[in-house]
């Protein structure tokens, strides 16, 4: 039954396993549902285990159950829309005629197309999906044959719900907020016994008590704590401006993650040379050499930047974009020194993957394993930072 739906889900990268599929079959055989709407919620509750996959689930559901939509339902949906008094108010006789001009399937195809193109909320105007305006998609609008998205609910069908794709913002390959970054960074840990002795060591207590002729002798031990130390180096200004917000989220997540033993952060512009900076305005300089001396090699280094610059900025003496740097040593050498000094380092790149095919990006990626600044990328980077090379 519906086995193809299982594969449609897997094709859409929803991690569904046989166990869950069998659970769904069990639920169906118990007669848990009576219509497609309930099936939509039932299958989602059983098969999908994170809101980050709700969107992919919606896509797969829409794809698989496309044919189930009967023409009767479609008319019902449109009629219902027309029933809304606010809509009837604006419909004139000519507009009613216009209503005939676009059939629902065509409308849905168009809607899908626009959903793909559109990335943000929109109000007014005549094309994008949003509120008001004369586009056929959205709500409180004036298009006679429009499809309402959001707005007043009631009697919507599963397919329509799926098509709404309300969970788009939760996709893990798209967005990152502070909390999600924190979750990502939690993986960065290295447990070792440090801190006060506050855990009862039972074996040694029994041993000591026996030696003490039965007089109780409690032996305490240190509990295991995270010993991971993190060094965050961030590119600021210039081509990084568009990503400023994303980077500030990463920073605040790392900074407020209390579970690191130590957290150090410095800024640079485009590439690292003789100095790093303690502030994003690049006023308070610290010599890079000094840092390499005082920071032990076991700091996990996270570099954040687009790694895109003129090749000369990376490879040449005096190549720095800021004239006052006057770097005697090319940036690539500094990066190499950092890569060699620390045992674990990664580079997070906020740019889209297809921009990575750039000479300096490729050169830097040879020194530091490079990951995209997304939830998935951060996860992989953290994994890379915790394995022993």
């Amino acid at each position: 039954m519906f086995t193809d739906f299982f594969y449609t889900l897997r094709k859409r990268k929803v991690p569904v396993s046989i166990t869950e599929w069998m659970t769904l079959m069990e639920a169906l055989s118990q007669g848990c549902i009576s219509n497609l709407d309930e099936f939509y919620h039932l299958a989602r509750a059983i098969l999908v285990k994170s809101e980050t996959y709700y969107d992919q689930y919606d896509v797969a559901f829409g794809e698989y159950f496309k044919g189930i939509e009967t023409p009767a339902e479609i008319t019902e949906q449109v009629l219902e829309w027309l029933k809304d008094p606010t809509n009837r108010m604006v419909l004139t006789a000519e507009e009613r005629a216009l209503f005939e001009s676009m059939d629902f399937d065509e409308l849905l195809r168009e809607l899908e197309k626009r959903l793909k193109e559109q990335t943000e909320q929109h109000d007014g105007g005549g094309y994008w999906i949003g509120r008001g305006g004369t586009s056929p998609f959205g709500h409180s609008g004036y298009h006679p044959a429009g499809i309402r998205i959001g707005g007043e609910s009631g009697g919507r069908h599963a397919i329509q719900i799926a098509r709404e794709r309300r969970f788009r913002d939760y996709r893990s390959d798209l967005t990152l907020d502070v909390r999600q970054i924190k979750v990502g960074l939690r993986g960065l840990r290295q447990l070792s016994r440090i801190g006060p002795e506050d855990e009862l060591d039972l074996d040694r207590t029994i041993d000591a008590t026996s030696r003490n002729a039965g007089e109780i002798e409690l032996v305490w031990t240190r509990s295991r704590k995270n010993a991971a130390k993190v060094l965050l180096l961030m590119d600021v200004g210039g081509s990084m401006e568009p990503f400023a917000r994303l980077c500030s989220r990463l920073f605040s997540a790392a900074h407020s993650s209390t579970h690191f033993k130590d957290f150090q952060y410095f800024y640079f512009h485009n590439c690292i040379y003789d100095s790093l900076y303690q502030d994003a305005l690049l006023y308070q300089a610290v010599s890079t050499n000094h840092l390499l001396r005082i920071l032990e090699p076991d700091y996990k280094v996270i570099l954040v930047g687009d790694a895109r610059m003129a090749t000369s900025e990376l490879t040449e003496k005096y190549g720095a974009i800021d004239f006052y740097e006057r770097n005697e040593i090319p940036g690539i050498v500094w990066l190499k020194r950092i890569a060699q000094h620390f045992t674990h380092g990664v580079w997070l790149n906020p740019e889209e993957l297809y921009y990575w095919n750039h000479p300096t990006v490729l050169m830097i990626a040879k020194l530091f394993p490079m990951f995209p600044l997304t939830i998935d990328g951060l996860g992989q980077a953290v994994k890379r930072l915790t394995v022993n090379k």
Binding site: S34, H41, A45, K49, S50, E51, R131, Q180, G187, I206
Partner: protein, 286 residues
């Protein structure tokens, strides 16, 4: 297809408003005897759900609050070795009877209960990453073995298990596979109105409308670290009622902002505008 009677058990309780998908998820979990994993923004009533299920079905609730130091073993039973060791010195108790040093944890209590209970495992993601995995078998088979007494505790009636998570940590796949999952979405204005009315049945329509309008407009502002949620709204409305604020001041001035915005940075960000109302007026209502 007609729904079986076993399935439609939970229909919400008078003091807790649920959406239909959530009710379905609860009923599926009960019918299939699987743990129900609930996630959602803070303040969307994840914890209250378990209480509502218990209330709605007339069952007892056992709450296991998870902390960062909680270990899976504690939920099953604790063997008080130090007490036994201590007692062994005086000889006034029969220390060969290990049973009296075994104390059942919350999970153990839920299993041993003579009637079916609702077991709430609250904020499971607070604990160590391996914590959920350590409970896999126990939750699957609803039984565990105590080697010290050679006893097996198995559930008389499988408890209805509700697990909440704030998504602070990724939960292990093997654990997730066994759960029914539901993500509580942030309520839309209509549902929110219903929720507020549950708390304040006599609230004035105008006041409620203005409060909701302001609240959802505030939530539109993306620059907040923590957006105000349901519980903050409830508190704020209480403040508005008690404070006797006139209705036309609610949207333009937003009195008692401190009840809505809890983070200092958010509060500063918001208060540093000359006309707070004008600022949020720029954002359209959903």
């Amino acid at each position: 297809m007609v729904k079986s009677a076993v399935f439609d058990q939970f229909g919400g309780s008078p003091d807790y408003v649920t959406s239909e998908p959530l009710r379905n998820a609860v009923n599926v979990a009960i019918a299939l005897k699987r743990p129900l994993l609930i996630r959602g923004e803070p303040g969307t009533g994840k914890t209250l759900l378990a209480h509502s299920i218990a209330h709605g079905l007339g069952k007892k609730i056992i709450v296991w609050n998870i902390k960062s130091t909680t270990k899976a073993q504690e939920g099953l039973y604790v063997y008080d070795t130090v007490q036994r060791l201590n007692d062994s010195r005086f000889g006034d108790k029969d220390i060969s009877d290990i049973k009296q040093y075994i104390k059942l944890g919350k999970l153990g209590q839920a299993f041993a209960s003579p009637e079916q209970v609702v077991l709430l495992i609250d904020e499971i993601d607070k604990a160590d990453l391996e914590f959920p995995n350590d409970l896999l078998n126990e939750l699957d088979e609803m039984s565990f073995y105590i080697p010290e007494t050679e006893e097996t505790i198995s559930a008389v009636h499988r408890p209805i298990v509700v697990i909440t998570s704030n998504a602070e940590k990724e939960l292990p796949d093997a654990f997730l596979r066994r759960c029914i999952f539901h993500y509580i979405e942030f309520p839309d204005p209509e549902l929110m109105e219903e929720i507020v009315r549950v708390h304040y049945p006599d609230i004035e329509n105008n006041l409620l409308r203005e409060a909701l309008k302001t609240f959802y407009a505030l939530r539109q502002i993306d620059d907040f670290r923590k957006k105000p949620s349901t519980s903050e709204l409830i508190d704020w409305i209480q403040a508005l009622i008690v404070g006797g604020v006139s209705i036309d001041r609610i949207f333009t001035e937003i009195p008692f902002t401190g009840t809505l915005l809890k983070k200092e940075t958010d509060y500063d960000f918001f208060m540093n505008r000359k006309h707070p109302g004008k600022r949020i007026g720029a954002y359209k209502m959903p």
